[in-house]
Amino acid sequence: MQTVLYLLEVEPIRLLISFGAVLFLVLNLAAILTMAERKVSGYIHLRFGPNRVGPRGLLQPAADVFKLFSKENVSPGRSDLWVFLGAPIAMFIPAALVWLVVPFAPDAVVADLNVAILFFVAITSIGALGVVMAGYGSRSAFSLLGALRGAAQMISYEVPLILSLLGVVMLSGSLSLTDVVRAQGDTIWTWYFLPQLPMFLTFYISGIAEVKRVPFDLPEGESEIVGGYMIEYSGMTWALIQAAEFASMAVMSAITVTLFLGGWQPPLPFLDLGQFNWVWFGIKTALIMFTFQWIRWSVPRLRMDQLMDLGWKVLVPITLIWLFVTAGAMLVF
């Protein structure tokens, strides 16, 4: 026991072990999220959702994973095999890596970087690479269109995403996520989503676009390009892409909570749970994820040109204006 504890204090080993734990969490989270997605969609659709495997259908993800493991991995004859097989990995790794800097509780963060926000921005933008690889490697017109849409969308929406972060950075004066959470205080009206409301909404919308969910699921576009960049994937490669999507959706909610909704901070001081404050973080993240799913099953999809219009003509100007407003307010007060 003593040796184990000693080992945990050695920085590389601690990083390795805690990253392993986070990876475990991410993979399980992806499975739980598929289940949640199907249940939420079920209730919105006036049906039950999966309810056959296990009690109340709770073992459905396990059955899904078993099925996907036992499926053959088919790759198209014309595909560029290395690119094709590398794409799911290139998509999953960035989605999992961002979890490194997410502060779950005051001291529960794998790597407390002082440039965590920069790290988040840099790693998220790698995700577009995986989409392009998948679309290009499959060598089909459908997947190519999906990949081009994905690349255009993810790169365009990075601009409002980053600009909307800047307000928070200005207010807290730090690029470290733990500092951002500490600066927000433990009352709901001091969290940044109130003074930064336009930024919060912009971040939320471009977050949905960044993780490619309805109404911004154009790269997938299931009614015209039937799955887009992932059309040729099957079995575990497909599962990895799905896991990456769910992991990036979860991480986007976690970052939204951290930046704008006070991270682990309780909404009111007397609700402070001490070392169990990660519960607050979990509740808030789950709420944001639920709104993602709610939106997904409620609205239709945008078209590519409308998506670009929304990004460049609406969201970017809003963030720029609010950036000036924030800067002016900080000068005055």
């Binding site: 969609s41 919105i44 659709h45 006036l46 049906r47 004859g77 014309r78 017109a141 459908f142 269109l145 849409r149 309805v214 109404p215 699921d217 154009l218 576009g221 299931e222 009614s223 015209e224 390009i225 039937v226 099953w297 409620s298 609205v299 239709p300 999809r301 945008l302 078209r303 590519m304 040109d305 409308q306």
Partner: protein, 395 residues
Amino acid sequence: MLGEERRAEHEGALTEPASGRLVSPDIRDEFGLETIDMNMGPQHPAMHGLLRLILELDGETVVRCDPIMGYLHRCQEKIAENRMYPAVIPMTDRLDYFANMHNEHGYCLAVEDLLDVEIPPRAEYIRVLMCELMRLASHIPSIGFLMLELGAFTPILYAFRERERIQTIFEAVTGARMMFHYIRIGGVKADLPPDIPQKIWDYIQSLEDHFQRDFVDLIQGNEIFISRTRNVGKMTQEQAVEMGVTGPALRCTGVDFDIRLDYPYSVYPDLEFEVVTDSAGDVEASYRVRIAECLQSIRIIKQCLEQMPEGEVMGDTGRRIRPAEGEGFGRVESPRGEFAVHVVSDGSDTPYRVHYRDPSFCNMQLLQEIVPGHYLPDIMPIMGLIDPVSGGWDK
């Protein structure tokens, strides 16, 4: 390289599309970039049935759209020549399988045109009642399909809930949920079960209560829905008339053509209803027309239930149906447009020739005309405007 060979093979196939239509000249822009060919269907999960579209894309813009039909061809017209007159009715059920009742009605009208048979008024009212229920069961899901094609998954399930309830009524009346074989030459198969008029009345009342909430409030004002459908699939009145388009796709351009009023059949002249038109001629207008037609159908169903006379439901056609030599013609307003049947008799007990004019087939001509110039994702809402059914265009 095997891949290269296959590619060459593939390109050879694309220069001569099966439809025989000439390929547009190689389009290159100022950078020397080519267009790409894309094959949509016949196994495309979002396509209405088995339709294959050969598309030529310039980026996301469709330059050419070539619909190729025939993947569900079942020789319906030829088979009809070898079957006795009443035995053709179950075959017509398989034409437009989303609005079977109208197919049966159209065929029976054509044969009754050949025969000298008087149809009891109660049978006529039951026919109209069933046809209008069928129109509801077809229009509501097509609104759901339109939303599904736009990427919203939920409305289709709400729509199918309604279709399911109507099918339950059909099951009680006809014994079948889809392939009814209910409207017969000279009348209908059987009278309504005694409790059914009340059940239909209750259902119509409950539908009226939540129709606005589920299919109008949820959809009509949605910003994304409007931006995806307004000015998409825009066509002029002249275009639509030239193409022979009928049904909601024609009425959404402002032409008030409806067989039920312009060439009245059955008891429609005795019923009060309006022809709904819209002036925009785009996908959103066709959605509004369908919504308003559902409300008109509800109105007709109520009148049918109120005015339905008592009496027989089957006219005297004789033991064996053997019309004299001649031609019979029947046309009905199906949910997709004008469904017409032309029957030629040579005096025997099988028809000499049966021809169906199916609205799905005729409206499909719009695709080639209005799709080029639109973006790729707009094809699906335009399909929702036309709302074709595979069994209809392929017969």
